[in-house]
Symmetry: D2
Subunit: 350 residues, 4 copies
């Protein structure tokens, strides 16, 4: 079968591989549509170390091809989505309410990390009953695709932010995860949503997904402007959706005493992140800093699909480009360089 | 000044009263608009016992007339809303996170209960700094009025229901509190909202406020239909917004194991409410039954006003009738009899 | 192998059975010690319907005899405990934080309910990696045995009760679950613990496990006495550990507005449980009624074993009688009749 | 009256002052016993800026001397404790569940910060009904004194740490707040408590207050040793009770994915605190960093007094030295220099 792989840091390409094997609880999925994620680019640049002949990709929907003998709720031909994170549900971390951390930090992240990813003609899914979800008839493959990472990750940022109904929220960066965090804040009942972004197209989408105000950090000091907008009080919650030291610091600076900083950005470099001591209230202002990794699992994906079935959100507005699977290398390069204001490139497998 | 009072069970009328006195932390409010609540009717029929010459009403907005010497954040002329519940913020109950229960069960409920209510030319507000909220310019008096009880109560029902994002909710009864519970479920990110109601006008509003399905209990068995809609699983959360034994039982019956029954109905008669033992999972199905009394206070009302300022909801659709203050007795009788499909009658004070 | 079975309602006996089969994720356990539970008696009397040739028992520790090929963390010879509840960790209920409700209400309860229980020479354990826990060297089999049901259930009652540090708690009934709820309240930092019990031996143990006061409901009105003890305010939390309508009502009556009723009793008969409407604050006093089923799983049992290893509690004080496996029928009858002030009868398998 | 004041950075002394004035909701307290806190030393060294003729001290118990006309629950002669933090209970922050942050970051901290402190013959208490608590007969002044800061602060560190029953906790530094955090972890049901400390007397007290293990960071690498003790997994919760950059980093390093870092240390210098990026799981390991400021208020202090009345803890073991009020300067200097292994110096006012 064909697969799009990383073969050493900085090296990618389409190649031929054997179809994946599977155990009694597993399934083999035949992808219909996929999305490229910026973290695929990070991986290729070495963020998680070197990898040889590792299939890339973790955002996919498709049709069940084969199931192991212990799989009870899915069968060949079922149209399904699978979360980017596929936890070991029996693990102690999952029993503790942190399935994404099963078998160690970020251990639920298997695709294109500890095993082959989803940019292939056949994809292995561990614990099919626990990690697949049926796509309702009302939901297209294209829509469903966004549940697997962008929606689940962005919404989780908002859920973790403990936003009171009618509360104020600032969302730093409006890439696809930030846009979904903005939408998530809206779905959690935020009263005022302030999006921080400088790219016009992303600013526009931020407004469509629920931002009441957009702060252009290219033109103004975001911290000052947000403090002014909130009469010097600060926001109830700030979401970091970029992964940079600066935006994390800014998020801490604009949160009021008693508020929450919800980090969803992947902090990919540097030895430290910096907490500004005074704005942090010298460790006594009751500002919580919380983090999250993309929640996966059948129940989670099923609930997100329900939001799509009932028209709560249209994530496909973030699809700016489309490619055939054969053209994936070109798509990958555009995503890597963020050319042509690309947000999400859709890959058609058939 | 003129006041609309209860003077013995079943007796109401407009009368003359002295203007209220006030302490150092209090304010006197001059109402501009008010709403009649079904609980005003309950009160007149004796639900909280007999009362003599008690001014009715608890939903009001207006202009500050006078403030006590210790009030720091409000002054005469300010346009303000005040919650139906005006807690003693120093009380142990408030310190414990239950301000509505200050000084005993439901103790935060003062208007038309332990002191004169709001259907008068001048209204006394305890702890003005803690219980008043400025109305933003973008919000009309009419809109703001709904924050004082219907929005805060209905939304609280949804907040307490612990609805997961994308989860399923059933809301029993679509009176004004139930309608706001439906809207609240939407603002909390519910994936599917099922409203239970038989009056066509209320069914229609339920859809406008976010219901995906309406179950007409006059035409079908609501429990059966909801169980069918959820593939026999039941809903994540059920909201009781009527106050009857039957709907509370139905709410318990349709909630799945691990789900939440959120009661916001005022249960005004009978010695007991009944928990159906089997559907309750013989006390071991992890179904929580939680209750709430209309959250008040400056911060709460301020946050709800923010939702109005940013167009998250239009509660004025529930205003079906309008009256001058002089005509309040007629309005009251219509509300008591639920004539002409009345939902909320608006009272103009000026 | 020998097994102690229920064979029709009211019928029990030792019999011969085949050794259990097992799947790839399962283990076979060879018991060393077990405990009889009052719910075994309920089962025999038909509480969950008729059963034929069903092995009884769900509280057991032992040695791993065999493991399936997919089991990675346990091997023959390991000394282990297994929770009475053995969830399907991939199920939607478990993903939702309610593993005891996997595959429907109380669905995590498999032993002596939907499959053979633990009173046998060999016992089948589903999902060994998820449901077994190694017993530390410092902990005896006898001690470890109490983690499987009495400690996990009683402690959960206290954990669910949301007891503030220094708060007040009333625990209704001091059977073994109630005693562990009393200990659990102590381990959660309760400031005053009031145990309600009439049997002298249980009263004495209640004091040893942390009760500050014992209310003998045989000699006094428990509700009145608890209200008096709390200056008419009521307790922060009340725990129902019996399963009767009366004690549930009493628990509701003594909880203050804003407090929590935590039910852990198995309500085995009657069509309804009754909520006293007025003391429930007419549905608006913010009294939560929550329930629980015995939490199981490797992590939970491991944590409870840690409490034993570090001498936080000695549950073996509850062992009032000891029997060989051959004598189990006699033990069962004593437990059924609550003869000789029996609390827990220990069964030695070897 | 006599008062012990700070009069410029580094300057302290006993002086004469007028008795404090009071408003309608306030009380004047006549101290009987007080404790010096390390933060008094920080203040004198300029941590919160310069102060002129500011009375120091915030840990005090005494007898009510006078009350304002609006005070309803206290009268002259009552024996009372008052929290170091005396919130404005009507403030938005208090309504939001963060009373210590009323009127801005740390705004509930008034004694020896924004008004005169407690080392004086008469002490002003704002909102007497909300901030005083009666001391039960069974509790001595000396014991009660510890509720005002050390117990409430240390216990809060443990409560915020979200310790699962039977979970593992590391407490960094065993000064009086750290010792009470250790005791707090024990009162929250921790299964294993690891105290990090190098002073022998504090190590000994740590064991008395519930530590199962003591890690001497002077002799070993604390992070390595804690990781080894937890089989490489890390602890469920780590408490920082010192206020240094290093211990905060260590706390992050030893917490497992999904765990909580609870900061209670006052971070008094430096521009930043540093989060070690990798051990923080690159912002995706679900490690929460939470902070707290000494919870005050009548209910809180009342609950802590209950723990003393029922012998849950003996905090007076931390009193290493005693002085008359006239000798307070000497006591202050010993505390400042941490001479003679001083932990807490008790001041007798009479």
């Amino acid at each position: 079968m064909k697969a799009f792989v990383m073969d050493g840091i900085g090296e990618t390409g389409l190649t031929e591989k054997d179809r994946p094997e599977f155990g009694p609880s597993d399934a083999i999925l035949k992808p219909t549509k996929g999305l490229i994620c910026t973290s695929d680019c990070h991986t290729v640049h070495g963020a998680i170390g070197d990898r040889e002949n590792l299939t890339l990709g973790h955002e996919v929907v498709g049709v069940v091809d084969t199931v192991g003998e212990a799989v009870s709720d899915f069968e060949p031909g079922d149209r399904v989505a699978v979360g980017a994170i596929t936890p070991d549900w029996s693990s102690e971390a999952a029993q503790d309410g942190h399935p994404s951390q099963s078998e160690g930090a970020l251990g639920g992240w298997k695709f294109a990390n500890v095993k082959d990813g989803t940019f292939a003609e056949y994809v292995h899914v561990n614990d099919a009953d626990g990690n697949l979800a049926h796509i309702p008839d009302e939901v297209s493959d294209h829509e469903a695709l966004y549940t697997t990472d962008m929606m689940t990750t962005g919404f989780a940022a908002a859920e973790n932010a403990a936003i009171p109904i009618g509360g104020t929220v600032a969302v730093f960066a409006q890439g696809p995860v930030g846009l979904m965090a903005t939408k998530g804040a809206s779905l959690q009942g935020a009263g005022t949503i302030i999006a921080v972004e400088t790219v016009p197209k992303r600013q526009e989408l931020a407004r469509e997904y629920g931002a009441d105000h957009v702060v252009d950090f290219g033109e103004t000091d975001a911290v000052e402007e947000i403090m002014e907008m909130t009469d010097g009080v600060g926001v109830d919650a700030a979401i970091e959706a970029l992964g940079s030291d600066t935006t994390l610091q800014d998020a801490i600076k604009v949160v009021k005493p008693g508020g929450t900083v919800s980090n969803v950005g992947y902090h990919g470099d540097g030895e430290y992140r910096h907490i500004p001591r005074e704005e942090w209230g010298v460790g006594m202002a009751e500002i919580d800093i919380v983090t999250d990794l993309c929640p996966g699992g059948r129940l989670r994906i099923k609930r997100l699909l329900r939001l799509l079935a009932n028209d709560r959100v249209d994530p496909t507005k973030m699809t700016t480009h489309e490619f055939e699977f054969d053209e994936i290398e070109e798509a990958f390069e555009m995503m890597d360089e963020k050319e042509d204001d690309i947000i999400k490139p859709l890959i058609h497998f058939e």
